[in-house]
Assembly symmetry: C2
Homo-oligomer: 339 residues x 2
DNA sequence: TATGCTTGCTTAAACGATTAAGCTGGTTAA
DNA sequence: TTAACCAGCTTAATCGTTTAAGCAAGCATA
């Protein structure tokens, strides 16, 4: 037997008042100060008795607020995205917002499709891990006046809010450590992309080398296609291991690169850190299975997610025109793999 | 500058017709057969020119369809959930549905909260990984007449659709393999829960032992609290390793149990499979980092997600009263760890 | 005694779409 | 000649809320 949905008018009929009165009371509208205690109490009780659940759709249509935020991540199956999604959903829920989500798969058309769908659903704001070359997409969103927070991926536009890490500092610090440990031929495994946050990681690497008195060698920088990570990482590492003069360290700039790289190095039985010192990026389950402890850059995922949610919601509620940029510090967790 | 949202009436004004005409044309309503080619074309063109995006909220209020499905997983940060979420979102999107999601954290109150929120948003259907002891919660949903598909976790109620694996067969087959490989003292690491899909895994273990002529020993069955997995797994394994007569094999019944168990066995340098044969559950990144290949039960995650989405949507659209139960076969991927 | 203020409500117009029913002028069939 | 029909629209109600404006009765004030 299908239960009929209880509406305002059911309560109104039951109590013998108008729907307006019921609405005022249940929403604690200022006008409810003018409703008698007796009627108020009866309305509240009846709402409870009938287990009234307001129709958010109708509410949203009238108030022009959906209390929904959109979240577009690169890939929800990537633990980095999944972890942040979890935090964001949690924080948003606490503040009365529901999250609708989608994965862009680094594909700009899929992202646009998701953006359109979400806007049609009148989301109040959007948290977006933007894909490569999507400046104009971001600009379009801004033009619509919908609150937007970019997460993880930075774009140099000053009207847009952003929450991410100090990408430059993260790799700078990592390379500095490797140099301090006596490494001179340091390889880099990074993505083939124009995404600013990744080129910032590259820049940190390059500057740390320079500041450490080491001339960068382009042959030691391997760029990996987002769409064939495993194959490219393995080829890149194989090339690095054969380089002349020999490579003595390598830095990975994302979690998937780290996992794929470590797997290969493990399977090839490369002596770490003796032959090759390693610094990975992001925390992953696999580090515990390595013969030695892994040195890695830890991103503060919880804070990232929370900050994104907070910045977005404050923007939505305070209508702050000012864009907010948050750059969180990473932590270099030093293990034995870095020499 | 904030762009004003284009509405039906803007197009209507532009073309010089009523909003009804515009609606008929843009929705390919049967009535649109009676609108002249000229007017139709002008409406379509104007909609494109103005980049009209229908307001889903208004549409939903009128049609009583939101084209939104709710997804409640146990923990979106668990790769098992994340993977399925990704597939479900993808498949649903293809069919015109948007997904709103939440993590219950195995907490029944949090789950109820999510269910309420989603219903207030008038979801057309729900995919639910139900938490322990939530039969009455499920019954409530059914009473409302909202299409529901349980995923992963089975409950013995015949009015509700379900998509999952053959849990009994999965562990039965795994234990059978261990017995064939000469193991006689086989431990089980499982959760402390009444969840049927997990007790089915236990039952498969027990029956395979019995059918293999081995008397089950309760001391070899370790139940782990969902809320302190690492600690409990380590204690459980430590106990198993000290058991008399010696344990010669162990079976893990979920991915997190497998990861935590393997980590401990690795760190304790337990010889696998010589001293202890191991069968894990679910595919994880960490297997590749083990000295030997791991034998594990593979769940068909893609098919699970797709089936859940398909069953739900067919139920929503065809109004099939009949509950559908899908039990997908698992694959026992045999490596060296099982001896 | 008229005036205004307060109290405790109600009325009805929105929000932006969908859609049944109606209207008008021409064509066709009987 | 007139009814019936069709093409090509429009009108207006509706979905379930919110909320500005209104209204009636009672009380206080001038």
């Amino acid at each position: 037997m299908v239960h009929k949905k209880i509406q305002l008018k059911d309560i109104a009929r039951e109590v013998g008042v108008s729907t307006a009165t019921v609405s005022y009371v249940l929403n604690d509208h200022p006008m409810s100060a003018r409703i008698s205690e007796d009627v108020s109490a009866r309305i509240r009780q009846t709402a409870l008795d009938l287990n009234y659940q307001p129709n958010q759709i109708a509410k949203s249509l009238k108030t022009q607020k959906t209390y929904t935020i959109g979240l577009i991540v690169a890939d929800i199956a990537n633990p980095f995205s999944a972890h942040m999604a979890r935090i964001i959903e949690d924080d948003a829920k606490k503040k009365g917002y529901t999250v609708i989500f989608g994965s862009s798969d680094e594909n700009i058309d899929k992202a646009q499709n998701l953006i359109n769908t979400m806007f049609n659903r009148q989301i109040d704001g959007l948290i977006l891990a933007a894909v490569d070359k999507s400046q104009s997409q971001i600009a379009d969103i801004l033009k619509k006046g919908v609150p937007l927070v970019l997460i993880d991926r930075y774009f140099p536009m000053d009207q847009v809010s952003y929450v991410g890490i100090d990408n430059y500092g993260a790799t700078y610090e990592a390379v500095q450590l490797l140099i301090r440990n006596g490494r001179k031929r340091i390889g880099l495994i990074s993505y083939d992309t124009e995404l600013v946050h990744l080129s910032e990681r590259n820049r940190g690497y390059l500057d740390a080398l320079r500041d450490g008195g080491i001339t960068a060698d382009n042959a030691l920088i391997k760029t990996i296609s987002l769409h064939q990570i495993r194959q490219d990482v393995e080829r890149g590492l194989a090339e690095l291991l054969q380089a002349e003069p020999a490579v003595d360290a390598v830095l990975f700039t994302t979690n998937l690169l780290s996992i794929n790289g470590l797997r290969y190095l493990y399977q090839q039985k490369v002596a770490i850190p003796e032959r090759l010192a390693v610094v990975a990026f992001d925390e992953t389950d696999v580090y515990d299975f390595f013969p030695i402890s892994i040195t890695y850059v830890r991103q503060p995922l919880d804070e990232l997610g929370r900050a994104a949610s907070e910045v977005l919601i404050s923007q939505m509620e305070n209508k702050t025109e000012q864009a907010i940029k948050v750059n969180l510090k990473t932590t270099l967790v030093v293990g034995q793999s870095s020499g």
